[in-house]
Symmetry: none
Subunit: 301 residues, 2 copies
C-alpha cells in the first residue's frame, strides 16, 4: 500500500458475538483493507476495531460497517460502563503513511456526510475536523450520552454537522473526525475501591489540571473486582506513557494501594515503547536510527 | 523485501580508503541489498559493515566483497589493536524478518564453502553454525590470531570446516556463522573505581556464573572519569536488557554506587526496547502485534 490511513471505529456492542462478527465481516478479505485488530469488552459493552487501508477503500468499508451497526444495535436497550451516544459511537481517521491530517479530514467529512444524508444518523465532526472549538473534545461532544441527546441537540450550538437535527431513535448520533494516533492505556489498581481510581483519574487528566494529553476516568473491572484508571493518551510524543504510569503509582501510594498492571487496547506506535525503555534504562545519546525496524521501514519505501 | 537477512562482515583494513571503498562498492546500488552503515577504525585497523538484504542476493554481494578483501589485504603487513586472523576476519549472518536461525545457518555454510573451495580461504564455522562446541565462541576460534594460525591449524581438532588445511599466506582464515542479533549495551557507574565495574561484570556474565547471554567486562571511560560495565547481549530474547540493567543497579548498590546512564552502540531490534517497556509498565496480555510498525512491515509484503 502506497498510502495508508487508519480508522478506529468504536461500536456500542461488546457482548453479542453475532453483531460483532457481522461488523468484522465488513473488513475481512477486502482488497486494500486490512483488519489489524478488534477487541470487545463486556463491561464496557463496546467493541473497538483497528483497520488500515487505502483511503477510499477504507472509507467504503467503514460506511458498510456503520450500516450494520445502525441496523443491529439499539441504544435504548444498551447498558455499559463506557460513555456512548451512538450505535457507532465514534469514527476517527488517522494518517499513517504518505498521508496528511488534511487528507484524513477529507475522508472523515465524506463519511460524516454519508452517515447524515444517507443513513439518517446525526454526525458531529470532532478533533481536527471540528467546525467549532467546543466540538474538538470528544468528551464534550458526548456529554449527556445517548440518554441526554434529544435535549442536547435542541440547545443552540449543538445542531449536528450532518444529518437530522434530532437523534436517530435507536442509533443516537456519531462523532467523526481526523486525529493523530491515540493510545488507549489502562492502569489496574490493587483495590476494589472505585473512588480511588476516579480520584487518580482526576489528578492526571488535562481537564482537571493534569497532563496536557491525557483523558482519564476511573472504572470498575467487575470480573476482576479491581478499579482501573482508564486513559486515552492523545499525543504520546508529548505526554509519555512512563510519566503517566509513574504518576499513577505515586498517587496510588497515598492510599497505600499498589499498581497490579497495565494494558494497551489496540495498537500503539513503536516510539511509545521506546520512549519508556529509554527512560527506565537511562539511555544516553540514543537515536531512533538505532532501532533496526526504523531502517527496515525506510527500505520498504 | 519479503525476507530480510543481516550480515555484519569485519575486514582487516581500517586505513586504506581505496580498499574500504572498493569493499563498499560491492553493496552499493545493488537491487535487494542495502548498506545500512559502515565504519572504519584506524587504531583497530578494521572496518565493520552492516548490510541487509534478500538472502541470496546478500550472499552473493558478501562473496564479491570477500574476493576484493582477499585480493587487496595482506595480513603479513597488518598491524592493529583488534584481534584478527583473516583479511576478511569474521562474517556473521543474522536472521531479521521471516527468516530463521536455521536459514541463516544455510547461507553461512554456502558462503563458507565458496570461500574455502573457490577462494582458497580456510573457513571455521562459528556460533550457531559451529560443528563443534569448542568453535562456538569467536574468541576461541581466533585465539593465536593470524601470526599463530599456521601452528594452530596443525593441531588436532583445528582443521577448518572448509578450504585448505593451512592458512592463506596473505589472507589467513575466516570465521563464518549464523548468530542472533547482538546488542552492545553499556552501563555507566557513578564512580571512578574500575574494580567495581570489573566486579559487577564478573557477576553478571555467563562465563563466571551470570546470565546465559551476557559477555561483560569493566572498562574505564577516561574522558568522563567513570567506570563502565561494557556488555554484549548475545540473545536479547532470552536475557532481557531490563533484567541485566536492574541487576547491575542492585550490585552497584552494594558499593553505595549509583547508575548514571546506559548506552547502546549500533543497532538493536525494536523488540529489545518493547520487552523493557513491557516490564517497567507492567503491561499485561500484550502482543507484539499491538505495535503499529509490526503491522506496517507485514502490510508491505
Amino acid at each position: 500500500m502506497k498510502t495508508i490511513m487508519q480508522c478506529v471505529p468504536n461500536y456500542s456492542e461488546g457482548r453479542n458475538l453475532d453483531i460483532i462478527n457481522k461488523i468484522a465481516e465488513c473488513f475481512k478479505g477486502k482488497e486494500g483493507v486490512r483488519l489489524l485488530d478488534y477487541s470487545s469488552d463486556e463491561d464496557h459493552n463496546r467493541s473497538v476495531f483497528t483497520i488500515i487501508g487505502e483511503p477510499e477503500t477504507l472509507r467504503d468499508a467503514v460506511i458498510a460497517s456503520c450500516e450494520v451497526a445502525l441496523n443491529s444495535i439499539d441504544l435504548r436497550n444498551h447498558k455499559g460502563q463506557h460513555p456512548r451516544m451512538g450505535a457507532v459511537d465514534v469514527i476517527p481517521f488517522i494518517p499513517i503513511k504518505n498521508y496528511s491530517i488534511k487528507d484524513a479530514d477529507d475522508i472523515a467529512k465524506q463519511v460524516g456526510k454519508y452517515l447524515g444524508e444517507e443513513l439518517n444518523q446525526p454526525v458531529y465532526l470532532y478533533e481536527k475536523s471540528a467546525t467549532n472549538p467546543s466540538r474538538e473534545n470528544l468528551a464534550d461532544v458526548r456529554r449527556g450520552e445517548f440518554e441526554g441527546l434529544f435535549e442536547k441537540m435542541q440547545k443552540p450550538g449543538w445542531e449536528p454537522d450532518f444529518g437530522p437535527t434530532s437523534p436517530n431513535p435507536s442509533g443516537g448520533a456519531t462523532a467523526v473526525g481526523a486525529r493523530m494516533p491515540l493510545i488507549a492505556f489502562n492502569v489496574n489498581l490493587a483495590t476494589d475501591r472505585l473512588e480511588i481510581a476516579r480520584d487518580i483519574a482526576k489528578k492526571i487528566r488535562h481537564s482537571n489540571g493534569g497532563f496536557r494529553y491525557i483523558k482519564a476516568m476511573g472504572v470498575m473491572l467487575e470480573e476482576k473486582n479491581i478499579a482501573q484508571v482508564s486513559m486515552n493518551v492523545t499525543d504520546y510524543t508529548k505526554t509519555s506513557l512512563y510519566r503517566v504510569f509513574e504518576t499513577i503509582k505515586m498517587e496510588a501510594q497515598r492510599y497505600g494501594v499498589g499498581v497490579v498492571g497495565s494494558e494497551l487496547i489496540g495498537l500503539a506506535p513503536m516510539q511509545a515503547f521506546i520512549d519508556s525503555a529509554q527512560y527506565y534504562l537511562r539511555l544516553e545519546n540514543f537515536s531512533p536510527k538505532q532501532v533496526l525496524e526504523n531502517r527496515l521501514l525506510e527500505v520498504d519505501e
